[in-house]
Symmetry: C2
Subunit: 220 residues, 2 copies
DNA sequence: GCGAAAATTGACCATTTGGTCAAATTCCTG
DNA sequence: CAGGAATTTGACCAAATGGTCAATTTTCGC
Protein backbone atom coordinates (compact mmCIF):
# COMPACT_ATOMS: atom_id res chain seq x y z
CA UNK A 1 0.00 0.00 0.00
CA UNK A 2 2.90 2.29 0.52
CA UNK A 3 3.68 1.61 -3.09
CA UNK A 4 0.27 2.76 -4.15
CA UNK A 5 0.52 6.02 -2.33
CA UNK A 6 4.00 6.52 -3.67
CA UNK A 7 2.65 6.04 -7.16
CA UNK A 8 0.02 8.66 -6.56
CA UNK A 9 2.57 10.99 -5.20
CA UNK A 10 4.41 11.16 -8.48
CA UNK A 11 1.30 11.77 -10.52
CA UNK A 12 0.15 15.31 -10.87
CA UNK A 13 -3.67 15.08 -10.99
CA UNK A 14 -3.94 15.55 -7.26
CA UNK A 15 -6.67 16.51 -4.89
CA UNK A 16 -7.28 20.09 -3.98
CA UNK A 17 -5.85 19.53 -0.54
CA UNK A 18 -2.62 18.26 -1.96
CA UNK A 19 -2.38 21.16 -4.39
CA UNK A 20 -2.93 23.53 -1.55
CA UNK A 21 -0.37 21.98 0.76
CA UNK A 22 2.20 21.78 -2.00
CA UNK A 23 1.68 25.43 -2.83
CA UNK A 24 2.16 26.46 0.78
CA UNK A 25 5.29 24.36 1.05
CA UNK A 26 6.72 25.70 -2.18
CA UNK A 27 6.18 29.27 -1.06
CA UNK A 28 7.88 28.58 2.25
CA UNK A 29 10.68 26.74 0.49
CA UNK A 30 11.28 29.67 -1.83
CA UNK A 31 11.91 31.93 1.13
CA UNK A 32 14.07 29.52 3.05
CA UNK A 33 16.18 28.43 0.10
CA UNK A 34 16.63 32.08 -0.87
CA UNK A 35 17.83 33.02 2.57
CA UNK A 36 20.01 30.05 3.35
CA UNK A 37 20.97 28.40 0.07
CA UNK A 38 20.43 24.76 -0.69
CA UNK A 39 22.55 23.24 2.06
CA UNK A 40 21.69 25.85 4.61
CA UNK A 41 17.98 25.34 4.18
CA UNK A 42 16.53 22.67 6.45
CA UNK A 43 13.36 20.82 5.82
CA UNK A 44 12.42 21.59 9.40
CA UNK A 45 12.69 25.32 8.75
CA UNK A 46 10.64 25.02 5.59
CA UNK A 47 7.99 22.99 7.36
CA UNK A 48 7.89 25.51 10.18
CA UNK A 49 7.39 28.39 7.81
CA UNK A 50 4.72 26.47 5.98
CA UNK A 51 3.03 25.75 9.28
CA UNK A 52 3.15 21.95 9.30
CA UNK A 53 5.26 19.20 10.88
CA UNK A 54 8.38 18.09 9.11
CA UNK A 55 7.05 14.59 8.59
CA UNK A 56 4.11 16.06 6.76
CA UNK A 57 6.34 17.99 4.44
CA UNK A 58 8.14 14.76 3.64
CA UNK A 59 4.82 13.21 2.86
CA UNK A 60 4.26 15.69 0.06
CA UNK A 61 7.84 15.94 -1.09
CA UNK A 62 9.81 12.81 -0.46
CA UNK A 63 13.17 14.50 -0.36
CA UNK A 64 14.58 17.96 0.02
CA UNK A 65 16.08 17.48 -3.41
CA UNK A 66 12.69 16.75 -4.98
CA UNK A 67 11.15 19.78 -3.34
CA UNK A 68 13.98 21.96 -4.51
CA UNK A 69 13.76 20.63 -8.04
CA UNK A 70 10.07 21.39 -8.27
CA UNK A 71 10.78 24.87 -7.04
CA UNK A 72 13.46 25.45 -9.64
CA UNK A 73 11.15 24.20 -12.37
CA UNK A 74 8.44 26.60 -11.31
CA UNK A 75 10.82 29.53 -11.22
CA UNK A 76 12.38 28.68 -14.55
CA UNK A 77 8.98 28.56 -16.16
CA UNK A 78 8.20 32.11 -15.20
CA UNK A 79 11.70 33.19 -16.08
CA UNK A 80 11.35 31.83 -19.60
CA UNK A 81 7.91 33.33 -20.08
CA UNK A 82 9.07 36.85 -19.25
CA UNK A 83 10.44 37.46 -22.72
CA UNK A 84 7.28 36.99 -24.68
CA UNK A 85 7.41 40.57 -25.89
CA UNK A 86 10.56 39.93 -27.86
CA UNK A 87 9.03 38.91 -31.19
CA UNK A 88 10.16 39.67 -34.75
CA UNK A 89 7.21 41.90 -35.53
CA UNK A 90 7.54 43.93 -32.34
CA UNK A 91 9.06 47.36 -32.21
CA UNK A 92 12.57 46.87 -30.76
CA UNK A 93 12.51 49.87 -28.45
CA UNK A 94 9.07 48.91 -27.22
CA UNK A 95 10.05 45.30 -26.77
CA UNK A 96 13.21 46.07 -24.80
CA UNK A 97 11.44 48.61 -22.62
CA UNK A 98 8.72 46.14 -21.82
CA UNK A 99 11.13 43.31 -21.17
CA UNK A 100 13.26 45.40 -18.85
CA UNK A 101 10.20 46.66 -17.02
CA UNK A 102 8.96 43.10 -16.62
CA UNK A 103 12.28 41.88 -15.30
CA UNK A 104 12.55 44.71 -12.82
CA UNK A 105 9.00 44.10 -11.76
CA UNK A 106 9.81 40.43 -11.23
CA UNK A 107 12.75 41.43 -9.05
CA UNK A 108 10.45 43.60 -7.02
CA UNK A 109 7.60 41.19 -6.71
CA UNK A 110 9.33 37.89 -6.25
CA UNK A 111 12.84 38.52 -5.01
CA UNK A 112 13.03 35.11 -3.37
CA UNK A 113 12.46 33.33 -6.63
CA UNK A 114 15.20 35.33 -8.26
CA UNK A 115 17.55 34.57 -5.40
CA UNK A 116 16.93 30.86 -5.53
CA UNK A 117 17.56 30.89 -9.24
CA UNK A 118 20.71 32.95 -8.82
CA UNK A 119 21.97 30.69 -6.08
CA UNK A 120 21.47 27.63 -8.21
CA UNK A 121 23.41 29.04 -11.14
CA UNK A 122 26.04 30.58 -8.91
CA UNK A 123 27.01 27.13 -7.70
CA UNK A 124 26.97 25.52 -11.10
CA UNK A 125 23.37 24.31 -11.20
CA UNK A 126 24.24 21.05 -9.45
CA UNK A 127 20.64 20.15 -8.74
CA UNK A 128 19.14 20.95 -12.11
CA UNK A 129 20.66 18.24 -14.21
CA UNK A 130 21.06 19.88 -17.59
CA UNK A 131 17.49 20.94 -18.13
CA UNK A 132 18.05 24.44 -16.80
CA UNK A 133 21.03 25.09 -19.01
CA UNK A 134 19.37 23.56 -22.03
CA UNK A 135 16.20 25.57 -21.72
CA UNK A 136 17.95 28.84 -21.08
CA UNK A 137 20.19 28.22 -24.06
CA UNK A 138 17.23 27.46 -26.30
CA UNK A 139 15.50 30.60 -25.11
CA UNK A 140 18.49 32.75 -25.93
CA UNK A 141 18.93 31.16 -29.33
CA UNK A 142 15.34 31.95 -30.20
CA UNK A 143 15.45 35.51 -28.91
CA UNK A 144 18.86 36.04 -30.41
CA UNK A 145 17.47 35.27 -33.84
CA UNK A 146 14.80 37.90 -33.33
CA UNK A 147 17.40 40.50 -32.46
CA UNK A 148 19.59 39.53 -35.37
CA UNK A 149 16.53 40.01 -37.53
CA UNK A 150 16.06 43.53 -36.20
CA UNK A 151 19.66 44.26 -36.98
CA UNK A 152 19.36 42.92 -40.52
CA UNK A 153 16.30 45.06 -41.11
CA UNK A 154 18.22 48.07 -39.90
CA UNK A 155 15.93 48.67 -36.95
CA UNK A 156 18.79 48.64 -34.46
CA UNK A 157 22.53 48.91 -34.57
CA UNK A 158 24.51 45.67 -34.77
CA UNK A 159 24.77 44.17 -31.33
CA UNK A 160 25.77 40.84 -29.90
CA UNK A 161 22.53 39.31 -28.56
CA UNK A 162 24.15 36.89 -26.12
CA UNK A 163 26.07 39.50 -24.24
CA UNK A 164 23.17 41.89 -24.43
CA UNK A 165 21.05 39.38 -22.56
CA UNK A 166 23.75 38.58 -20.02
CA UNK A 167 24.01 42.24 -19.16
CA UNK A 168 20.29 42.74 -19.20
CA UNK A 169 19.62 39.84 -16.86
CA UNK A 170 22.39 40.91 -14.56
CA UNK A 171 21.26 44.51 -14.42
CA UNK A 172 17.64 43.71 -13.71
CA UNK A 173 18.05 40.73 -11.42
CA UNK A 174 20.63 42.46 -9.31
CA UNK A 175 17.79 44.43 -7.75
CA UNK A 176 16.50 41.18 -6.29
CA UNK A 177 19.64 39.14 -5.83
CA UNK A 178 21.83 41.81 -4.30
CA UNK A 179 19.02 43.70 -2.67
CA UNK A 180 20.96 43.66 0.59
CA UNK A 181 23.77 45.61 -0.96
CA UNK A 182 21.43 47.97 -2.73
CA UNK A 183 19.54 48.72 0.44
CA UNK A 184 22.79 49.37 2.23
CA UNK A 185 24.06 51.76 -0.42
CA UNK A 186 20.79 53.60 -0.75
CA UNK A 187 20.45 53.63 3.05
CA UNK A 188 16.94 52.30 2.88
CA UNK A 189 15.03 49.79 4.90
CA UNK A 190 13.33 48.72 1.73
CA UNK A 191 13.92 49.51 -1.90
CA UNK A 192 11.19 51.91 -2.97
CA UNK A 193 9.02 51.82 -6.05
CA UNK A 194 10.76 54.97 -7.23
CA UNK A 195 14.09 53.16 -7.04
CA UNK A 196 12.87 50.35 -9.23
CA UNK A 197 11.54 52.87 -11.70
CA UNK A 198 14.81 54.73 -11.71
CA UNK A 199 16.61 51.47 -12.33
CA UNK A 200 14.35 50.48 -15.19
CA UNK A 201 14.73 53.89 -16.73
CA UNK A 202 18.51 53.82 -16.58
CA UNK A 203 18.82 50.27 -17.86
CA UNK A 204 16.44 51.07 -20.68
CA UNK A 205 18.39 54.17 -21.52
CA UNK A 206 21.59 52.15 -21.66
CA UNK A 207 20.19 49.36 -23.76
CA UNK A 208 18.35 51.58 -26.22
CA UNK A 209 21.41 53.76 -26.46
CA UNK A 210 23.59 50.77 -27.25
CA UNK A 211 21.07 49.71 -29.88
CA UNK A 212 21.07 53.14 -31.41
CA UNK A 213 17.39 53.55 -30.68
CA UNK A 214 17.40 56.67 -28.59
CA UNK A 215 13.73 57.05 -28.39
CA UNK A 216 12.58 59.00 -25.40
CA UNK A 217 11.16 56.57 -22.88
CA UNK A 218 7.52 57.23 -22.33
CA UNK A 219 6.22 57.59 -18.82
CA UNK A 220 4.85 54.27 -17.73
CA UNK B 1 49.31 26.99 27.48
CA UNK B 2 46.47 26.65 25.15
CA UNK B 3 45.74 30.25 26.02
CA UNK B 4 49.19 31.29 24.88
CA UNK B 5 48.84 29.66 21.52
CA UNK B 6 45.37 31.05 21.22
CA UNK B 7 46.71 34.49 21.87
CA UNK B 8 49.29 34.05 19.18
CA UNK B 9 46.73 32.78 16.82
CA UNK B 10 44.82 36.04 16.88
CA UNK B 11 47.89 38.18 16.37
CA UNK B 12 48.99 38.82 12.87
CA UNK B 13 52.81 38.99 13.05
CA UNK B 14 53.14 35.29 12.39
CA UNK B 15 55.87 33.04 11.21
CA UNK B 16 56.40 32.37 7.56
CA UNK B 17 55.09 28.86 7.96
CA UNK B 18 51.84 30.13 9.37
CA UNK B 19 51.51 32.72 6.62
CA UNK B 20 52.06 30.04 4.08
CA UNK B 21 49.58 27.60 5.54
CA UNK B 22 46.94 30.29 5.94
CA UNK B 23 47.37 31.33 2.33
CA UNK B 24 46.96 27.77 1.11
CA UNK B 25 43.87 27.31 3.26
CA UNK B 26 42.33 30.59 2.13
CA UNK B 27 42.82 29.69 -1.50
CA UNK B 28 41.22 26.31 -0.97
CA UNK B 29 38.42 27.89 1.02
CA UNK B 30 37.70 30.35 -1.75
CA UNK B 31 37.09 27.50 -4.15
CA UNK B 32 35.02 25.39 -1.82
CA UNK B 33 32.87 28.24 -0.52
CA UNK B 34 32.32 29.40 -4.09
CA UNK B 35 31.17 26.00 -5.19
CA UNK B 36 29.07 25.01 -2.22
CA UNK B 37 28.09 28.16 -0.39
CA UNK B 38 28.70 28.73 3.29
CA UNK B 39 26.67 25.85 4.68
CA UNK B 40 27.54 23.46 1.91
CA UNK B 41 31.23 23.94 2.35
CA UNK B 42 32.78 21.57 4.87
CA UNK B 43 36.00 22.18 6.70
CA UNK B 44 36.99 18.67 5.69
CA UNK B 45 36.62 19.53 2.00
CA UNK B 46 38.60 22.71 2.43
CA UNK B 47 41.34 20.88 4.31
CA UNK B 48 41.43 18.22 1.61
CA UNK B 49 41.82 20.76 -1.13
CA UNK B 50 44.50 22.54 0.83
CA UNK B 51 46.27 19.24 1.34
CA UNK B 52 46.22 18.97 5.10
CA UNK B 53 44.21 17.20 7.80
CA UNK B 54 41.09 18.84 9.07
CA UNK B 55 42.49 19.18 12.57
CA UNK B 56 45.36 21.14 11.17
CA UNK B 57 43.04 23.54 9.43
CA UNK B 58 41.27 24.10 12.72
CA UNK B 59 44.62 24.85 14.28
CA UNK B 60 45.08 27.80 11.93
CA UNK B 61 41.47 28.90 11.84
CA UNK B 62 39.60 28.08 14.98
CA UNK B 63 36.19 27.99 13.36
CA UNK B 64 34.70 27.79 9.91
CA UNK B 65 33.15 31.14 10.63
CA UNK B 66 36.52 32.75 11.36
CA UNK B 67 38.01 31.31 8.20
CA UNK B 68 35.11 32.54 6.17
CA UNK B 69 35.29 35.98 7.69
CA UNK B 70 38.94 36.34 6.86
CA UNK B 71 38.19 35.29 3.33
CA UNK B 72 35.44 37.86 2.95
CA UNK B 73 37.71 40.57 4.30
CA UNK B 74 40.38 39.70 1.79
CA UNK B 75 37.94 39.74 -1.10
CA UNK B 76 36.31 42.98 -0.02
CA UNK B 77 39.69 44.66 0.11
CA UNK B 78 40.40 43.90 -3.51
CA UNK B 79 36.86 44.77 -4.47
CA UNK B 80 37.16 48.22 -2.91
CA UNK B 81 40.53 48.85 -4.47
CA UNK B 82 39.33 48.19 -7.98
CA UNK B 83 37.84 51.65 -8.41
CA UNK B 84 41.00 53.66 -7.89
CA UNK B 85 40.76 55.05 -11.41
CA UNK B 86 37.60 56.92 -10.58
CA UNK B 87 39.05 60.21 -9.42
CA UNK B 88 37.84 63.78 -9.94
CA UNK B 89 40.70 64.76 -12.20
CA UNK B 90 40.41 61.69 -14.40
CA UNK B 91 38.80 61.70 -17.80
CA UNK B 92 35.34 60.15 -17.32
CA UNK B 93 35.39 58.01 -20.43
CA UNK B 94 38.86 56.80 -19.64
CA UNK B 95 37.98 56.13 -16.01
CA UNK B 96 34.85 54.14 -16.84
CA UNK B 97 36.60 52.13 -19.53
CA UNK B 98 39.39 51.27 -17.17
CA UNK B 99 37.07 50.41 -14.31
CA UNK B 100 34.96 48.16 -16.48
CA UNK B 101 38.01 46.46 -17.90
CA UNK B 102 39.34 45.91 -14.40
CA UNK B 103 36.07 44.46 -13.16
CA UNK B 104 35.79 42.11 -16.13
CA UNK B 105 39.40 41.10 -15.66
CA UNK B 106 38.67 40.35 -12.02
CA UNK B 107 35.76 38.16 -13.07
CA UNK B 108 38.07 36.30 -15.39
CA UNK B 109 40.98 35.92 -13.07
CA UNK B 110 39.35 35.26 -9.75
CA UNK B 111 35.85 33.98 -10.38
CA UNK B 112 35.78 32.14 -7.06
CA UNK B 113 36.31 35.32 -5.10
CA UNK B 114 33.49 36.98 -6.95
CA UNK B 115 31.22 34.03 -6.30
CA UNK B 116 31.92 33.96 -2.60
CA UNK B 117 31.20 37.65 -2.41
CA UNK B 118 28.04 37.28 -4.43
CA UNK B 119 26.87 34.40 -2.30
CA UNK B 120 27.39 36.36 0.87
CA UNK B 121 25.36 39.31 -0.33
CA UNK B 122 22.75 37.10 -1.93
CA UNK B 123 21.89 35.68 1.46
CA UNK B 124 21.89 38.99 3.25
CA UNK B 125 25.51 39.11 4.39
CA UNK B 126 24.75 37.16 7.57
CA UNK B 127 28.40 36.49 8.34
CA UNK B 128 29.80 39.93 7.71
CA UNK B 129 28.30 41.85 10.56
CA UNK B 130 27.78 45.29 9.12
CA UNK B 131 31.30 46.00 8.01
CA UNK B 132 30.68 44.85 4.47
CA UNK B 133 27.65 47.03 4.00
CA UNK B 134 29.26 50.01 5.66
CA UNK B 135 32.41 49.88 3.58
CA UNK B 136 30.59 49.38 0.31
CA UNK B 137 28.31 52.26 1.13
CA UNK B 138 31.23 54.53 1.95
CA UNK B 139 32.92 53.55 -1.30
CA UNK B 140 29.85 54.43 -3.32
CA UNK B 141 29.36 57.72 -1.55
CA UNK B 142 32.92 58.70 -2.38
CA UNK B 143 32.75 57.62 -5.98
CA UNK B 144 29.29 59.06 -6.36
CA UNK B 145 30.64 62.48 -5.45
CA UNK B 146 33.25 62.15 -8.17
CA UNK B 147 30.63 61.37 -10.74
CA UNK B 148 28.38 64.17 -9.56
CA UNK B 149 31.38 66.44 -10.01
CA UNK B 150 31.80 65.31 -13.58
CA UNK B 151 28.17 66.04 -14.19
CA UNK B 152 28.43 69.51 -12.67
CA UNK B 153 31.42 70.28 -14.83
CA UNK B 154 29.46 69.20 -17.87
CA UNK B 155 31.80 66.35 -18.68
CA UNK B 156 29.00 63.79 -18.72
CA UNK B 157 25.25 63.84 -18.92
CA UNK B 158 23.34 63.79 -15.62
CA UNK B 159 23.20 60.27 -14.29
CA UNK B 160 22.29 58.64 -11.02
CA UNK B 161 25.59 57.27 -9.65
CA UNK B 162 24.09 54.67 -7.31
CA UNK B 163 22.16 52.90 -9.99
CA UNK B 164 24.99 53.29 -12.44
CA UNK B 165 27.20 51.34 -10.08
CA UNK B 166 24.59 48.71 -9.36
CA UNK B 167 24.28 48.04 -13.06
CA UNK B 168 27.97 48.21 -13.64
CA UNK B 169 28.75 45.72 -10.90
CA UNK B 170 26.02 43.41 -12.01
CA UNK B 171 27.06 43.49 -15.64
CA UNK B 172 30.72 42.81 -14.96
CA UNK B 173 30.44 40.36 -12.10
CA UNK B 174 27.85 38.29 -13.89
CA UNK B 175 30.69 36.91 -16.00
CA UNK B 176 32.08 35.31 -12.87
CA UNK B 177 29.01 34.66 -10.78
CA UNK B 178 26.81 33.22 -13.50
CA UNK B 179 29.60 31.77 -15.52
CA UNK B 180 27.72 28.46 -15.62
CA UNK B 181 24.83 30.05 -17.44
CA UNK B 182 27.08 32.01 -19.74
CA UNK B 183 29.02 28.93 -20.70
CA UNK B 184 25.80 27.09 -21.37
CA UNK B 185 24.40 29.83 -23.59
CA UNK B 186 27.63 30.36 -25.48
CA UNK B 187 28.04 26.59 -25.74
CA UNK B 188 31.57 26.76 -24.47
CA UNK B 189 33.60 24.63 -22.11
CA UNK B 190 35.24 27.79 -20.91
CA UNK B 191 34.56 31.45 -21.49
CA UNK B 192 37.20 32.71 -23.89
CA UNK B 193 39.31 35.84 -23.67
CA UNK B 194 37.46 37.14 -26.72
CA UNK B 195 34.18 36.76 -24.85
CA UNK B 196 35.41 38.82 -21.94
CA UNK B 197 36.63 41.46 -24.36
CA UNK B 198 33.31 41.51 -26.14
CA UNK B 199 31.57 41.90 -22.81
CA UNK B 200 33.80 44.74 -21.70
CA UNK B 201 33.30 46.46 -25.03
CA UNK B 202 29.53 46.22 -24.88
CA UNK B 203 29.28 47.30 -21.26
CA UNK B 204 31.57 50.20 -21.95
CA UNK B 205 29.53 51.17 -24.96
CA UNK B 206 26.37 51.12 -22.88
CA UNK B 207 27.80 53.11 -20.00
CA UNK B 208 29.53 55.73 -22.11
CA UNK B 209 26.42 56.02 -24.21
CA UNK B 210 24.30 56.61 -21.13
CA UNK B 211 26.79 59.22 -19.99
CA UNK B 212 26.69 60.92 -23.36
CA UNK B 213 30.39 60.32 -23.87
CA UNK B 214 30.37 58.40 -27.09
CA UNK B 215 34.06 58.26 -27.52
CA UNK B 216 35.21 55.42 -29.68
CA UNK B 217 36.69 52.77 -27.46
CA UNK B 218 40.35 52.33 -28.21
CA UNK B 219 41.77 48.91 -28.79
CA UNK B 220 43.25 47.73 -25.54
C1' DG C 1 -22.55 5.80 7.24
C1' DC C 2 -18.89 2.57 5.61
C1' DG C 3 -14.60 1.44 4.02
C1' DA C 4 -10.63 2.60 1.73
C1' DA C 5 -7.48 6.05 0.48
C1' DA C 6 -5.28 10.23 1.92
C1' DA C 7 -3.25 12.94 5.30
C1' DT C 8 -1.18 13.89 9.90
C1' DT C 9 2.29 13.49 13.32
C1' DG C 10 5.44 12.19 17.23
C1' DA C 11 9.17 9.29 17.87
C1' DC C 12 13.08 7.59 16.12
C1' DC C 13 17.53 6.64 13.43
C1' DA C 14 21.82 6.96 10.68
C1' DT C 15 24.87 10.11 8.81
C1' DT C 16 27.29 14.24 8.48
C1' DT C 17 29.97 17.69 10.36
C1' DG C 18 32.12 21.40 13.18
C1' DG C 19 35.05 21.28 16.59
C1' DT C 20 38.20 19.22 20.54
C1' DC C 21 42.13 16.94 22.56
C1' DA C 22 46.14 14.79 23.80
C1' DA C 23 50.04 12.77 22.14
C1' DA C 24 53.72 13.11 19.00
C1' DT C 25 56.81 15.64 16.05
C1' DT C 26 59.18 19.56 14.16
C1' DC C 27 61.10 24.03 14.56
C1' DC C 28 63.58 27.73 16.41
C1' DT C 29 66.23 30.36 19.67
C1' DG C 30 69.59 31.20 23.10
C1' DC D 1 72.17 21.11 21.68
C1' DA D 2 68.62 21.87 25.19
C1' DG D 3 64.15 23.16 25.89
C1' DG D 4 60.15 25.52 24.99
C1' DA D 5 57.05 26.95 21.37
C1' DA D 6 54.78 25.84 17.21
C1' DT D 7 52.83 22.40 14.37
C1' DT D 8 50.79 18.02 13.03
C1' DT D 9 47.38 14.49 13.28
C1' DG D 10 44.30 10.47 14.40
C1' DA D 11 40.66 9.58 17.35
C1' DC D 12 36.77 11.16 19.20
C1' DC D 13 32.25 13.68 20.44
C1' DA D 14 27.90 16.23 20.49
C1' DA D 15 24.66 18.51 17.74
C1' DA D 16 22.14 19.00 13.62
C1' DT D 17 19.61 17.11 9.99
C1' DG D 18 17.40 14.34 6.18
C1' DG D 19 14.54 10.88 6.13
C1' DT D 20 11.52 6.78 8.00
C1' DC D 21 7.66 4.53 10.20
C1' DA D 22 3.77 3.04 12.41
C1' DA D 23 -0.16 4.54 14.54
C1' DT D 24 -3.92 7.67 14.28
C1' DT D 25 -7.19 10.78 12.24
C1' DT D 26 -9.50 12.89 8.39
C1' DT D 27 -11.60 12.84 3.88
C1' DC D 28 -14.46 11.23 0.38
C1' DG D 29 -16.83 8.35 -3.08
C1' DC D 30 -20.47 5.05 -3.01
Amino acid sequence: MSKTSAQRMEDRPAGVKRRDAEARILTAAEEVFAEAGYSGATTAAIADRAGLPKANLHYYFRTKEALYRRLIERILEEWLASGDQIRPEADPAEAFSTYIAAKIEASRRRPFASKVFANEILHGAPHSGDFLKIQVRAWVEAKGKVIDGWVKRGLIRPIEPHHLFFILWAATQTYADFETQIRAVLARKRIRPADYEEAARLITRMVLGACGVDRKVRKS
